[in-house]
């Protein structure tokens, strides 16, 4: 496997020099194009202002550049990116002591007029239910919705697989009950 062959090097700077540096930059930008929206949506759930989330995404991809430059593993980079972004998000939130509220300037679902009634009824109730979920449960749900496997969610959030499974089951049961009302 080509990725595995590039795993490690005694002299990472030389190894990186041997590779085409602009190719590495292009590679990182391609990952940015694929992952930026997913990471940004996830980070907005931390209640941080949009510009802070955008900054964290930038930091995450600079970390990816350095990670790859050092010849580190390319295995499951999407999960790696979520893990880095998650840790940076937590650190940022601790520093800024941001509230749990999501920035209203960013969350603007702007439903079409015909959707407004539904939004104001069922979906408002569901949004309230999701907002009231324990933070870790909400993150499990968000990461699963972004396509992560249970094992990847467990690694990002430092939980056991069983805890991920339970959190998802619990959250969906609440959503299910709320939708029935």
């Amino acid at each position: 496997m080509a990725d595995a062959r590039a795993e490690s090097s005694l002299f990472p700077a030389i190894a990186a020099e041997q590779a085409d540096p602009s190719a590495l930059e292009r590679d990182v930008v391609e990952h940015f194009d694929r992952m930026r929206a997913r990471l940004l949506r996830y980070l907005l759930g931390f209640g941080l202002p949009a510009h802070d989330c955008e900054e964290i995404v930038q930091e995450t991809f600079l970390a990816l550049f350095q990670h790859l430059q050092r010849g580190r593993s390319r295995r499951n980079l999407p999960a790696w990116l979520f893990r880095v972004a998650h840790n940076l998000g937590l650190r940022k939130r601790m520093r800024t002591r941001a509230t749990e509220e999501i920035d209203d300037s960013v969350i603007d679902p702007a439903p079409s007029p015909e959707d407004q009634f539904v939004t104001s009824q069922t979906q408002k109730r569901l949004l309230a239910i999701v907002g009231a979920l324990p933070e870790q449960d909400r993150r499990c749900l968000a990461l699963r919705a972004e396509g992560l496997r249970y094992r990847e969610i467990a690694e990002v959030l430092d939980m056991s697989l069983g805890a991920v499974s339970l959190a998802l089951t619990r959250s969906l049961a609440r959503i299910s009950r709320a939708a029935e009302l």
Binding site: E17, S22, E25, V28, N87, P109, A145
Partner: protein
């Protein structure tokens, strides 16, 4: 007897063990109650997915910003071999000095200290090991994790940087004992927790196929799991 919501969701998410998948599918074919519940779970997923999403700022600006920063990082790299060699020498010297600093902030253990973590097993036959349906490691209790961190002198480390891992996985008869646990880095080494998980799965498969006896598998993984990985995957680097 009906299928639990948790198992239904695992089934829908493709996360249920292969051995249970057929049983759940067969039950669903027979049981209308469980089929309705499965549909309700799918409806809840659908409701969640259809919730209004935040409108994200356009990507062009941040993309251009990232490209500029990457180009700057790229330009900072040495342009010839002599310079590269010089920087490598400085890097190595810096790493040596930095080692002392890292000891107090972030420590990487690719293999455990054999004095602290020699490995410990419970008495199980290979038949008992292979008949276990759940091969996932259970979470290590917080108090025990803390003891492991203390034993390894990790006082300021971010717990999220580590998985307190079983040296001999319980799926191979490893014991839930501090002598069988050590802090393994998630991402700071090539030989990380995910790579070790691959070795554990591979050794368990060999044991259950009768190609390797359980005691040998336990001994191999407790001795030096990285060497065991190289031996059993016939490679010097993780695949």
């Amino acid at each position: 007897m009906h299928i639990s919501d948790q198992n239904l969701l695992q089934f829908l998410d493709g996360e249920i063990p292969a051995s249970e998948r057929a049983l759940v599918a067969a039950h669903l074919a027979e049981c209308w109650t469980c089929r309705v519940r499965k549909q309700e779970i799918e409806d809840a997923i659908s409701d969640f997915v259809r919730l209004p999403k935040p409108q994200l700022p356009p990507a062009e600006g941040p993309r251009a910003q990232l490209k500029a920063q990457l180009a700057q990082l790229g330009r900072a790299r040495p342009r010839n071999w002599q310079l590269a060699a010089g920087i490598c020498a400085l890097l190595i010297a810096g790493l040596t000095i930095g080692q002392f600093w890292r000891q107090s902030t972030r420590v990487v253990f690719a293999v455990p200290d054999p004095k602290l973590t020699p490995g410990a097993t419970v008495l199980l036959s290979s038949g008992e090991v292979c008949s276990a349906s759940n091969t996932k490691n259970k979470a290590v209790p917080v108090a025990l994790r803390q003891k492991v961190f203390e034993a390894y002198g990790i006082t300021h480390a971010e717990p999220r940087s580590y998985e307190v891992d079983y040296l001999i996985t319980p799926a191979l008869g490893g014991a839930d004992d501090i002598h069988n646990l050590w802090p393994q880095s998630y991402s700071d080494t090539v030989w990380n927790a995910q790579v070790k998980d691959d070795l554990e799965d591979h050794l368990r498969a060999l044991v259950c196929e009768g190609k390797l006896d359980l005691a040998t598998a336990q001994h191999e993984i407790a001795g030096n799991w990285i060497e065991a990985y190289k031996k059993y995957f016939h490679t010097d680097r993780p695949q």
